[in-house]
Amino acid sequence: MICLYCLKNYNMEVTWTTIFKPGRKGLCSECCSNLEPIREETCEKCGREYDEQWFDNKHICTDCVAWENHPNYKEVKIKNTSIYKYNNFAKEFVAKWKYRGDYELIYAFSDEIKKTYKSKYKKVDYIITIPLSTERSYERGFNQSEAIAKIMDQKKTLKVLKKNETNKQSKKKKLERIHSENPFIMTGVKSTIDKKVLIVDDIYTTGTTMYQISKILYEAGASEISTFALFRG
């Protein structure tokens, strides 16, 4: 077997999974050991692992408290699940996957993603993917959110969002926009009314993207919104 990430040959332990799924792709034990799974005690909203420096109380982290007080997002309730911490190895991994374009690296997490999907999101009606700008799509050659959704359930994947790329404005104005305007637009307005939806992304860092999209879906009448990000920054 060749490790998906470092391309070194390694011996995979023979287990029931490897017997039933020959040719399954994975990471060598050294690369695996660099990943830090998020432990059970987490922020109830964003799924960040409990750590004194980010928490004033046991249940909700300081980031999420700040979001609760944000005037634009008062009505948005976030319920995020992440699997791994966004540590240095994860950063290098994501850089190679997303920016270098090594699409197949995501297969290293297929089993974990499927497991989480089956245990938590079986009842969702749609998996909502996050759009890229035309320029980014061309640069990367793939959409990272769609790559994860495809592993969960391609049939439930719904592409109803578009990135707003209308007017070119000066840099300063762009910065202002980030704070006030939502860069996403809904293209299929009626499809999510009264539906349970799951928004899927690779990393949850500030939460901005998840809040912006949740808000649009909430306004479009979704009955239940949850989010999944492979890594929590």
Partner: protein, 440 residues
């Protein structure tokens, strides 16, 4: 964008469209620029990868199709089925002349003279040559007259080596020997990107972007890690050479595949330039030292004696270790010592400090096994029976000792817990070389 700029950018260089800062439509109109598809089934044109397991595929948003990509060279920019590679003809920078470019007044031994004449002949004939030179034979100097000859003919020269350290060592030496010649050094992270100079000094890795650029390619340490097993680097070397070109290989321990290749001429220099033999390593059994070092922090007594003895005589002890944990423990236990390994950020500076005498003892992994010349060193290998120390590595390590005229003595000790075949082969190798050099 002018035609001139494009030809200068792609002068003997092959790049992806993504790497070219000009309008691709315009480039396609230029007759001199060659355009090729980057992948051909499971064959990467850029790095030579043809291992099915090292390709990936996905639905590509560029070409709206299932697209394959090479994982082996993805760090140089992704090359997919829908990518095209652009290359231009290589031009030479110097006009032919009779002028002498070489500034070197060292004397050659008879063996060095013979070898350097062979180098010039090989360049004239555009053929292949292996120079098998014992460590400390002065193999860099041997090629100087050949380089001068090639420069006079206006040829493009490349010196390639598997190691960044060696690029750093060779660059100032060549600049000194050829003061008028512009020299470009390329290594991972270097800023000096692909200039069109008469002489390029490059790591073998950085060669991957050259395409039929060089008239003379000299490959140092053909036996060294990682060239001897990475076939993509061999592929790069062949791509970087012009079809009709000279290929010269240098080695102190050539692999059999090259040594026995009938198409390659050979010249052997068994004697060091100061005329003394290679030091014969002493073998010292020290039992299960590793357990006692890692669990109880006990430095083997015989190793301690070796270091103290060396320092007392005003010499510089280097200890080679098989891995990083062992090196780290030793560094903590031996006073005024420092440990260097390949990913160490201050590695160059520490080696300098040791050369200048600011450090008493240097501990290193095999990264210093080659290319480093420090006078007055004694060398110990701790755990010479570890599999990382093969025949080649052990011969190279012994060759670190006694390289300078003013210091031809110096000790080499292999500390072990059982003699391996590789240890015995290295001893045999050194004896044979010394016999060829006329020492009994």
């Amino acid at each position: 964008m002018t035609e001139h700029e494009i030809l200068a950018l792609l002068n003997g260089i092959r790049l992806l469209a993504d790497e070219i800062p000009f309008d691709i439509q315009e480039i396609n109109k230029l007759g001199l620029i060659k355009k090729e598809l980057g992948l051909n089934n499971y064959n990467c044109l850029r790095c030579g990868n043809n291992d099915k397991n090292k390709f990936g595929k996905h639905f590509c948003l560029r070409c709206n199709n299932i697209c394959y990509y090479c994982k082996n060279c993805i760090m140089m920019g992704k090359l997919s089925s829908c990518s095209e590679l652009y290359s231009g003809p290589s031009t030479n920078t110097l006009e032919p002349t009779n002028k002498n470019y070489l500034n070197y007044d060292g004397e050659f031994t008879d063996e060095q003279k013979t070898a350097s004449t062979k180098v010039i002949e090989t360049i004239k004939q555009k053929s292949q040559l292996l120079i098998w030179a014992v460590c400390g034979a002065g193999k860099t100097e041997i090629i100087f007259p050949g380089l001068n000859f090639a420069l006079q003919k206006g040829l493009n020269i490349c010196l390639a080596t598997p190691r960044t350290d060696v690029v750093h060592e060779l660059t100032p030496r060549l600049k000194k020997a050829f003061p008028e010649i512009e020299i470009t050094s390329l290594f991972g992270g270097s800023e000096n990107k692909y200039k069109n100079s008469p002489i390029t000094i490059s790591t073998t890795h950085q060669l991957l972007r050259f395409y039929k650029k060089f008239d003379v390619l000299i490959l140092d340490e053909i036996d060294a890690f990682p060239y001897n097993y990475d076939k993509s680097l061999q592929y790069a070397v062949n791509n970087a050479r012009k079809d009709d070109s000279t290929f010269i290989m240098l080695s102190a321990t050539p692999p059999n595949s090259i040594n026995y290749n009938q198409q390659i001429n050979k010249v052997i220099i068994p004697k060091r330039y100061h005329g003394n033999p290679l030091p014969l390593p002493k073998l010292e059994w020290i039992g299960d030292w590793e357990k006692s070092l890692l669990t109880k922090n006990n430095v083997p007594k015989k190793l301690q004696d070796f270091i103290e003895h060396s320092i007392r005589e005003g010499r510089k002890p280097i200890v080679f270790v098989p891995n990083i944990p062992i090196g780290s423990v030793l560094q903590d236990k031996i006073s005024e010592s420092k440990f260097v390994y390949s990913s160490h950020e201050n590695r160059k500076r520490i080696v300098e400090e040791f050369k200048e005498g600011k450090l008493k003892c240097l501990i290193t992994t095999t990264i210093l096994e080659r290319g480093v010349t420090i006078p007055f060193v004694d060398v110990a290998v701790l755990g010479a029976d570890d599999e990382i120390f093969n025949e080649t590595a052990l011969v190279q390590i012994a060759g670190r000792v006694g390289r300078k005229k003013e210091d031809t003595s110096g000790r080499v000790i292999f500390f072990h817990n059982g003699k391996t075949n590789e240890i015995l082969k290295s001893i045999k190798h050194i004896k044979k070389i010394n016999r060829l050099g006329g020492f009994e």
